[in-house]
């Protein structure tokens, strides 16, 4: 099993959700996060006082999937989240040891 994690631009979230739905993803965890990479923050000025706002708001989504589905899902996110400008975000895949469905106690692939 794999955990696919993506950090994307907030306004691309709806496109990514639809792309994932199209390849059969039925659920995911989404959080509002902030951070920075090559896309730096910005400057705001209040009565002449400049503030450097370092952090940029992003959406982080996590999907736990079968090993064989991971590549399709990464591809769907990559296509749907891309604008071609700095700040499009990142996708990474990490191995998952155990998954448990809390309601039924199902384990691993049964629980996905």
């Amino acid at each position: 099993m794999k955990l696919v994690t993506a950090v994307i631009k907030p306004h691309k979230w709806e496109d990514v959700r639809q792309a994932l739905e199209a390849v059969g993803v039925t659920g995911m965890t989404v959080s509002e996060v902030s951070g920075y990479g090559r896309q730096k923050g910005h400057t705001e000025v209040y009565r002449g006082a400049e503030y450097d706002i370092a952090l940029v708001p992003k959406i982080r989504l996590e999907v736990a999937v079968d090993d064989e589905d991971a590549a399709t899902i990464v591809d769907a996110i990559e296509r749907s989240a891309r604008t071609g400008r700095i700040g499009d975000g990142k996708v990474w895949v990490s191995p998952l040891d155990t998954v448990i469905r809390v309601r039924t106690g199902d384990r691993d692939n049964e629980a996905l």
């Binding site: 209040y46 009565r47 002449g48 006082a49």
Partner: protein, 440 residues
């Protein structure tokens, strides 16, 4: 004339609205979210304290008779011998005392003990505001600024704005900088509140400036009322107040655009207040060209002056000095340049061939107000600093003054998180009325 009385009722309510809630909103939006309730409370509690104190001795100190600095504080204490037909005049002056005290609060945001504020306000009102109001507004035979110096001040450039601005400067010098200032981020947490507050201040300011008309009105002899003069003078002050404010918005935005690249909403809100402050003393003295000039100058200069605190190193949190002291001085001094003989003061300024006389009187009036307010505010603040203490504990300041001084948070921004009750807290045991508790 019945209309005059109705007008004063409305003007008085408008000026009270400038403090509660307009100024509280204007300042509250500019603080950080952990300090907004304390910021607003400083205005609300100033209204309560100063209002009662004004009736107790403020009116008497201002208006019970003659005096260079103030009149007999006890001759009309608790409005003794004041006819109810004159109460609205008392209430009108009371609202000025309230807002002058409340204006100071913007400078000391985030860090002044609430108890110190509650002590400072009444002492400052009695020792500084009530006398200055007498010197400027009463125009009794030997009143220092109005009569002896002969400086014009229609609605309070000296007694209200310069006074509050100087007091703010003295207080922040004795109080010290906020922890982390100027390095840490202290950007305004809700500029929509500030925009709303600035708009309401503008609306309320018509009560402040237009209501400041001094005209004889004897309820027992209504026919003596000078209707034509009343209409002409209120028309002039209303127009001047409006046009100066508009010019100040543009002046502020222009300077901001040139110096910092963008015209901002906070700049527009600040321009409104800077223009209103500057036209306050001059509302009756100048014509509409003069009002536009004073507004534009005040907007532009104040937009620059709010940056002085970073260069000189005083933490005037919400720019009471940069807007009220600087704007008040501009408006009061420029009367000497732009006033016209057909205005309320009957004096031509420098630009209209009146020479330097008025400019000198106006400048001397400013100097006296600055010295009087500065010296006595320092005495009061030092006395509190070395007894009760002015400054909040370091931990409380970092954690937020709302929680430390009032036990409240302004916003519950994450209802539902970490609890089932639809909010981020649960009622404490001491509050929940249980069966056992009810029986006990």
């Amino acid at each position: 004339m019945d209309g005059y009385y109705a007008f004063m009722l409305i003007a008085t309510a408008l000026v009270l609205m400038m403090t509660v809630p307009a100024l509280a909103l204007f300042y509250g939006g500019m603080t950080r979210s952990k300090s907004v309730l304390n910021m607003m409370m400083m205005s609300y509690v100033a209204a309560a304290i100063v209002g009662i104190l004004y009736v107790a001795i403020g009116w008497s100190m201002g208006w019970s008779g003659d005096g260079t600095f103030f009149a007999d504080p006890f001759a009309m204490a608790w409005l003794k011998d004041v006819e109810p037909t004159f109460y609205i005049g008392v209430m009108f002056q009371m609202t000025f005392a309230i807002i002058t005290c409340a204006l100071i609060s913007g400078a000391v945001a985030d860090r002044m003990k609430f108890s110190a504020w509650v002590l400072f306000i009444p002492v400052w009102a009695v020792i500084v505001y009530f006398p200055l109001a007498h010197m400027v507004f009463s125009c009794s035979e030997s009143a220092l600024i109005c009569t002896r110096i002969g400086a014009q001040d229609y609605a309070g450039g000296t007694a209200v704005h310069i006074n509050a601005g100087v007091a703010a400067l003295v207080l922040v010098l004795l109080l010290g900088k906020r922890i982390g200032w100027p390095k840490d981020k202290m950007r305004p947490h809700n500029l929509t509140l500030t925009m709303l507050g600035a708009g309401m201040l503008w609306f309320g300011w018509y009560g402040f400036n237009v209501g400041s008309i001094v005209i004889g009105y004897d309820p027992t002899d209504p026919s003596a009322f000078e209707l034509e003069r009343f209409v002409a003078e209120t028309g002039r002050t209303f127009a001047n107040t409006t046009l100066a404010t508009m010019a100040a918005i543009l002046g502020w935005l222009l300077i901001e655009r040139l110096m910092h690249g963008k015209a901002t909403s906070l700049g527009a809100a600040s321009g409104i207040v800077a223009g209103l402050v500057a036209i306050t003393p001059a509302a009756g003295a100048v014509d509409i060209e003069g009002a536009v000039a004073i507004g534009a100058i005040a907007g532009a200069v104040c937009a620059w002056a709010v940056g002085l605190k970073f260069r000189l190193g005083y933490d005037d949190s919400l720019d009471v000095v940069g807007v009220h002291l600087v704007g008040g001085i501009i408006g009061t001094v420029l009367i000497g340049v732009f006033s016209t003989a057909d205005g309320a003061g009957g004096i031509d300024g420098l630009l209209y061939g009146g020479g330097l006389g008025s400019l000198g009187d106006q400048s001397l009036g400013v100097l006296v107000a600055v010295l009087y307010s500065g010296i006595l505010t320092a005495v009061i603040a030092l006395a509190i600093k070395y007894t009760l203490g002015l400054r909040l504990d370091e931990d409380d300041e970092v954690g937020g003054i709302d929680l430390a001084e009032h036990g409240e948070s302004a916003y519950d921004l994450h209802p539902g998180s970490f609890s089932s009750g639809g909010s981020t807290g649960v009622l404490a045991k001491s509050t929940v009325r249980t069966e056992e508790g009810a029986q006990a």
